[in-house]
């Protein structure tokens, strides 16, 4: 370990983003379904959402001046890391129920882990964010864990 992660940085584990509420519309499902080349007619008609639709639904919408020059929005849940170049990432999603037009969904995001590993070409920082999506009534819709690697 090269000790890139200070105590202050690790203290960010457990930090939560403010809850986000979004309304699901048939139009937005159809846009997503067409853009992803869905084969299932029920997705293309917008009767229900494809499994990764929530990625679009909860993508951050920020003012232009908050985008970086390369067009990226900064995730305010994340601290400033000593490594900044993003490498591969992954998702792990557990589904509880379909998303359909008219749903009002709430996403709660938590920074659940930060750790360091030695890669072949130097140290790597990993972080994990868990997003719990539920309905207004508290019914679970899905749980998504994102893992990202910085080098």
């Amino acid at each position: 370990m090269s000790g890139l992660l200070s105590k202050a940085l690790l203290a960010n584990i457990g930090k939560q983003a403010p809850p986000r509420t979004e309304v699901v519309t048939r139009r937005d499902i159809r846009k997503y379904a067409i853009a992803t080349g869905q084969r299932d007619p029920s997705f293309l008609a917008g009767d229900r959402a494809p499994p990764l639709y929530h990625v679009a639904l909860f993508w951050d919408v920020v003012p232009l001046e908050e985008l970086t020059p390369d067009g990226v929005s900064i995730d305010k849940l994340l601290p400033k890391f000593p490594l900044e170049r993003a490498m591969a990432g992954g998702l792990n999603i557990e589904y509880h129920r379909d998303i359909v037009p008219g749903d009002v969904l709430i996403a709660n995001r938590t920074l659940t882990d930060i750790y360091e590993k030695q890669g072949r070409q130097g140290p790597l920082i990993f972080y994990e964010i868990i997003m719990e999506v539920s309905t207004e009534d508290g019914e679970k819709v899905l749980t998504e864990k994102t893992t990202r690697i910085l080098r």
């Binding site: 846009k31 853009a35 992803t36 084969r39 229900r48 494809p50 591969a88 589904y95």
Partner: protein, 149 residues
């Protein structure tokens, strides 16, 4: 005979091919509200970031994994979970193939685990993943109350 009883480890999921062009990639990122220039600004992607072309968004390939699983599953069950990682980038102009294999079947639980991956023309596995599907109860077929995805 219930669908799950006809499935065995090693069964192949029919492959899908996708060849997204600029228009599709634009619409995808617009649907997300993703302004990352590596997806639409070719001089920026090449000269500043050093990519050979416009980069296909990572979660779009994740989406194809779900489509491969759902096309194979049909109306016989739903997607219970999926995990995948974006190991290697892909670019506009490439033809990408998404295919999978059944890893295990748990008849008692009514579930199966499948391996799925997006592969590029060179044969590199660029987006590997695994998915769990839950079959609808034997003989009941598609039950809309249980959700369909």
């Amino acid at each position: 005979m219930a669908r799950i009883d006809q499935i065995q480890p090693g069964d192949q999921l029919p492959a899908l091919t996708d060849k997204p062009d600029n228009v599709q990639l634009f619409l995808y990122n617009a649907a997300l509200w993703n302004a990352h220039r590596i997806h639409f600004d070719l001089p920026y992607a090449k000269d500043v970031e050093g990519y050979p072309g416009l980069v296909i968004a990572g979660p779009l390939m994740g989406d194809w994994l779900t489509q491969c699983v759902l096309q194979w599953l049909g109306q016989d069950g739903r997607l219970a979970g999926i995990e995948y990682s974006n190991r290697q980038a892909a670019y506009i102009g490439e033809t990408l193939t998404t295919a999978g294999t059944v890893l295990e079947v748990d008849a008692a639980a009514g579930t199966a685990r499948v391996e799925v991956a997006v592969t590029n023309e060179a044969g590199d596995v660029i987006t590997p993943g695994t998915a769990t599907v839950r079959f609808h109860e034997t003989g009941r077929g598609h039950d809309p109350d249980r959700g369909g995805s």
